[in-house]
């Protein structure tokens, strides 16, 4: 029987309507010594108002440089079963889709070799197994990989790419997010498992500008589905929305950022040339409005959290790319970007930071993309720009 700790503070977090992580920890703590000590240590953190985990160390499986994050308690004498408490990242499927068969197998493996605690999912999108020791890692890896599952990314490597559910269950998907995500993951296995970049690199693929996967805010490379063509309007469905109480003028027409819609009580008209494809009208009137024409993606680069220069969103590099399997154009573009980043990036410098440091021109020239107004909100305000010898010849 695992040791039972008194947890008066955490017990307070078992009260209330929302499902409790403390209850989850207690379930595992009743079975495993590791989870019991993790719970005991967490109560201590609550009492001391501070974390009791130490920096990670280098741990992993043979032949890989990532996928496992070392974690150690700073109170190993008090909580010996979490003296080593490492995280294993399993690469999730596109769209975080599973079967009961897999989930049950995953639980069997994890109950045998680890704490029984998980995160579904980690912030980047891995299936996270929380808490095991170094001597179990090879066994865990053999169990998962023999069943067709691999580790995710960590460290200065390509991280586990993720995507929205896209065409598997959504009428708004302009691109095959699920397949793009799968292909990118498969294509760059070496870059994922053997960290060789200046820093981390994340891909996220969204089917439209609603961006359910937060690609524009959380990926070094954001792939966002879009279209070039008109929005088809089903006027009978428009009338149905009006009949059901939607105030089309206030809720749709007046909220259009392109101010490209009009409605006379009978007919909804769209001036497609002035549409920015923001998705508001389509999301609110999904039965009435459908994008038509050529489908593809905008490729944006560079979003990240605030370290070191402040938070950044991704910005447009390629306004429109056809996205057809096997996605050679995307893969070639990515390889060129990585080459440039590898050449010039400093230790722990994300690609977006490097672009800011060395300038868009050098980046665009290296990857072979022409300057277009869609890449900027506005042109520069200052007169301080470079001229190359070849510019002077033009």
């Amino acid at each position: 029987m695992p040791k039972k700790y008194e947890t008066p503070m955490l017990d307070e977090l078992e009260k209330g309507a929302f499902p409790s992580f403390v209850t989850e920890m207690k379930k595992s703590a009743a079975r495993t010594d590791m989870a019991a000590d993790a719970l005991g240590q967490l109560e201590r953190c609550y009492r001391d108002n501070r974390t009791h985990w130490k920096h990670g160390g280098i741990v992993g499986v043979r032949g890989y440089g990532g996928g496992v994050i070392g974690r150690y308690s700073d109170l190993p004498e008090d909580f010996p079963n979490v003296a080593h408490f490492h995280t294993v990242r399993i690469n999730s499927t596109s769209g975080f889709c599973y079967t009961s068969k897999f989930l049950t197998e995953m639980c069997d493996i994890w109950d045998k070799y680890g704490s029984g605690l998980t995160n579904l999912h980690g912030s980047t999108g891995d299936l996270v197994l929380l808490g095991t020791t170094s001597d179990q890692l090879e066994s865990i890896f053999a169990e998962f990989s023999s069943r067709g599952w691999d580790l995710g990314g960590s460290g200065s490597a390509m991280r586990t790419p993720s995507c929205c559910i896209g065409p598997a269950r959504c009428e708004w998907a302009n691109i095959d997010t699920m397949q793009i995500n799968y292909e990118v993951t498969q294509e760059f296995q070496d870059e994922m498992h053997r960290p060789a970049f200046p820093y981390k690199f994340k891909f996220k693929t969204a089917g439209c500008a609603v961006d359910c996967i937060a690609s524009i805010a959380r990926a070094d490379c954001s792939i966002i589905g879009t279209w070039r063509g008109k929005i088809a309007v089903d006027q009978a469905e428009v009338a149905n929305y009006a009949k059901k109480g939607m105030n089309i003028t206030n809720e749709i027409v007046n909220m259009c950022p392109g101010q490209c819609m009009s409605y006379n009580g009978k007919e909804l008209k769209i001036d497609d040339d002035n549409c920015t494809r923001c998705m508001h009208c389509i999301a609110k009137m999904t039965k009435a409005l459908k994008p038509t024409g050529e489908k593809g993606a905008s490729i944006l680069i560079g979003s990240k959290a605030p370290f070191v220069i402040g938070a950044t969103f991704s910005h447009v590099i390629v306004p429109f790319m056809k996205m057809e399997a096997p996605y050679t154009e995307l893969k070639d573009l990515v390889r060129k970007m990585w080459e440039w980043w590898d050449e010039h990036g400093k230790n722990r410098e994300r690609i977006g930071e490097l672009i800011i440091r060395r300038g868009m021109r050098e980046f665009l020239e290296y990857i072979g993309v022409d300057p277009v107004p869609q890449q900027v909100k506005e042109p520069r305000r200052d007169p301080f720009y470079f001229w190359t010898e070849s510019d002077l010849q033009k």
Binding site: M25, K27, V61, T93, V210, E251, T276, G310, F313
Partner: protein, 356 residues
């Protein structure tokens, strides 16, 4: 028992094995979807076929026991198919209409919390916190639990003018999506790191430690074979601790939580927005952080009272103006609110036209 043969560089299995036949068959051919109730939506394909999604909340930190219970329910009603959302909800994918009512009933009977779909509050994206992270300035799971208990009605029934996306990050690393959420909490420090001179020479690389500092506050200390930190330049981000474990910054007395508001990621109506500072600091007060939950509720109530239908928090604030935001929320405006980091001048007001 001998271990099975390991394989490397195989990547994840193909997703088609993990989506129900109805989603395989109508892949890329969906016509529309409808939210039937806060925990149920239906997607209808051009073929007329349907798939129902039943959504329940999860605390993200899950024991295998609970995952097994998800699997059992998926097995019983969904042919085994279940998925997770980016915000850590569980979605049961029902292909057979006759299972739609029974699965909802069983989930309710088993005390699962159904909801989160549509114009309301869904699950909180968050980080590891004290559960499993070395750099946490607060706990994440505990904050999430306390806030969601308080806002549970907005998950299960009540509507808001548009979606309200809440996020929690336990330090300024922001592994959670704090920099672009409607209402977000981030763990912060308020005192400079301690330099552990004896440890630094063995544990840290001086040049990369110096390079990690966004404000140039770290310089070499050759006499001690360590580094010095300029107190006037350090803004306590903790990035140096990420590369150098001998610069601990955790402080039980001074660490706490900042609240930022008005971020969004979608491009609907207006461009994606960063979250901006509303409350610079609230002390850590586990286990239920009552000062934090009431601050979140205050901001949420002001938004619900003031926003037009479909406006996100950031769109509402931009329409009324930040000066009005501080007025209606009665939040004090302090020196900490005025940017002095990398984009300060972009945030100063360059007009005499503003509201009182």
């Amino acid at each position: 028992m001998a271990l099975p043969q390991r394989k490397t560089d195989i990547g994840p299995p193909h997703f088609k094995e993990f989506i129900p036949p109805v989603m395989q068959k109508n892949y890329g051919d969906w016509k529309y979807h409808e939210v039937i109730n806060p925990g149920l939506m239906v997607h209808v394909a051009n073929s007329g076929e349907k798939v129902w999604t039943v959504r329940v909340a999860s605390p993200r930190l899950l024991s295998t026991d609970t995952i097994r219970s998800y699997a059992a329910i998926a097995e019983k009603y969904c042919g085994g198919y279940v998925r997770f959302t980016t915000r850590n909800n569980v979605e049961f994918l029902v292909s057979d209409e006759k299972n739609v009512e029974p699965i909802q009933k069983e989930l309710k009977d088993k005390k699962f919390m159904l909801g989160g779909i549509g114009s309301r509050i869904t699950n909180i994206v968050h980080t590891q916190g004290w559960v499993h992270c070395h750099s946490a300035a607060t706990d994440a799971s505990g904050l999430v639990k306390a806030i969601m208990d308080d806002l549970a009605d907005y998950f299960t029934t009540k509507e808001t003018p548009n979606k309200v996306r809440i996020a929690v990050a336990c330090c300024t690393n922001m592994c959670g999506a704090v920099h672009c959420s409607d209402i977000a909490l981030v763990g912060i420090h308020r005192k400079i790191p301690t330099v552990e001179h004896e440890k630094i020479k063995n544990m840290c690389e001086v040049p990369s430690t110096i390079a990690a500092c966004p404000t140039g506050a770290i310089s070499p200390d050759p006499a001690k074979k360590a580094v010095k930190i300029n107190e006037e330049k350090c803004m306590y981000c903790g990035n140096c601790f990420s590369v150098c474990p001998a610069l601990p910054i955790a402080d039980p007395v001074n660490d706490g939580i900042a609240i930022v508001v008005g971020g969004k990621i979608g491009s609907l109506r207006s461009d994606p927005k960063f979250s901006k500072l509303a409350i610079p600091y609230i002390k850590n007060n586990p286990p239920r952080w009552p000062e934090v939950t009431s601050a979140v509720k205050n901001i949420l109530d002001a938004y619900i009272a003031g926003a037009e239908k479909h406006e996100r928090v950031g769109e509402w604030i931009e329409r009324i103006g930040w000066e009005s935001f501080f007025k209606v929320t009665k939040l004090p405006f302090t020196f900490q609110h005025i940017d002095d980091f990398t984009i300060a001048r972009e945030t100063f007001r360059n007009t005499a036209a503003f509201k009182w």
